[in-house]
Structures are given as structure tokens and as C-alpha cells.
């Protein structure tokens, strides 16, 4: 195997990791929505962690791969900022419309939701960039 083949192998492996990461995200969402056992969520988080580390480590192997990474990271950052600004407002509106004080702690809600928001937007944007750009 020469150096160039190795480069292609790493890119292929990273793209496959991004697909596995997206599946793990969907698994995580399903687990939290449907109340699946904790080990399922834990497994999904481990898979996501590994795939993100793989993508991070290999992002500079190829400028096209780096472009996907940049798109995904930018989108995740934007989503976090937007969520940080809009979440308190949204919670306030919901409480106002329903006329009920649910006693939700805004900081706690933000802290719990920020990681899923970042991961969903990251992997979603990564795959969208792949579909759109080649």
C-alpha cells in the first residue's frame, strides 16, 4: 500500500465514520424519546465520541473532507449559539401560552440539550454537505 492509497483509505474510513455517527445520533434520539435502557444511550455516546475523534484526526487528510468538517463544525456552532439565545425565550413563551409555570430551570434545560443539539446539527450538516457537494 503506497502513501496515496493510504490517504484514500483514511478518507473512506472517515466518511463511513460520519455515517455511523449519524446512525448513532438517531439511536440516541430514539432511546431518549422512547425511554430505552441507559446502556443504549451510553453505547450511542461512545460510538459518537469515537466517530467525532476519527473525523477530527483525519480532517486534514483531504481538502474535500476538511470542507465537510468545516461546514459541520460551523453549523454546530451556529446551532448552539441560536439555541442558547432562543431556548429561554421559547420556554418563556410556552409557559406564557399554557398559563402554567412548569418550574423548568432554563440553565438546566440548556445544559441538558446543548450536546444533543450540537451533535445532531454537526452530523446532519456533514451529511448534507456530502449530498450537496459530491
Amino acid at each position: 500500500m503506497n502513501a496515496m492509497e493510504f490517504n484514500q483509505h483514511k478518507v473512506d474510513r472517515s466518511l463511513r465514520a460520519s455515517e455511523i455517527g449519524l446512525v448513532a445520533i438517531l439511536l440516541l434520539v430514539a432511546a431518549s424519546t422512547l425511554g430505552w435502557p441507559l446502556p443504549v444511550s451510553a453505547l450511542a455516546y461512545v460510538v459518537i465520541l469515537v466517530t467525532v475523534m476519527m473525523l477530527f484526526a483525519n480532517r486534514k487528510q483531504d481538502e474535500f473532507l476538511e470542507r465537510h468538517w468545516n461546514t459541520a463544525a460551523t453549523t454546530a456552532f451556529f446551532a448552539i449559539c441560536l439555541w442558547g439565545l432562543l431556548a429561554p425565550f421559547t420556554i418563556g413563551v410556552i409557559d406564557g401560552v399554557t398559563g402554567a409555570e412548569h418550574g423548568r430551570n432554563v440553565a438546566d434545560t440548556l445544559a441538558k440539550s446543548i450536546l444533543p443539539i450540537a451533535l445532531v446539527s454537526f452530523f446532519g450538516a456533514f451529511q448534507f454537505s456530502r449530498l450537496r457537494n459530491g
Binding site: N2, A3, M4, E5, N7, Q8, V11, D12, L15, Q61, D62, E63, F64, L65, R67, R132, N133, G134
Partner: protein, 67 residues
């Protein structure tokens, strides 16, 4: 951005993977450049120009009038 990469590659009988291997990028990157979905970085454009023994302008056309 228009380019003649597909033509130049076909003249030499190279696959996208083979061309990518010669300049150190993935076949996905070559495909995206050929279809105009990705503009190569300046270092990559120079590598392509050197490989095909052409100037960058002979390979890539940004559509601007260079009169």
C-alpha cells in the same frame, strides 16, 4: 468554476482515484472538482497545473473576462 480536468485526465487514461493519488487528494475531491461542486485550494490548483504541465488558467476558468 469551469475546468478542463476531466478532459485532461481522460487524455491520459487516468481514473479519478489515480489522479487523486498522484496529487494527494481523494477521488471524491477530484469528482467534486470536475463537476464544479468544489473549487480547489491554490496549492492543489498549482499541483494540478504542474502535473498536467499547464498553467492554472489553462485548466480552470472563473468566467471572468481576462482581456
Amino acid at each position: 468554476m469551469d475546468n478542463r480536468l476531466r478532459v485532461l485526465r481522460a487524455e491520459r487514461g487516468w481514473s479519478q482515484a489515480e489522479l487523486g493519488g498522484r496529487i494527494g487528494v481523494s477521488r471524491q475531491a477530484i469528482n467534486a472538482i470536475e463537476t464544479g461542486k468544489h473549487d480547489p485550494s491554490l496549492p492543489l490548483a498549482f499541483r494540478l497545473a504542474r502535473l498536467f504541465d499547464r498553467t492554472i488558467e489553462e485548466i480552470f476558468n472563473d468566467g471572468a473576462d481576462h482581456a
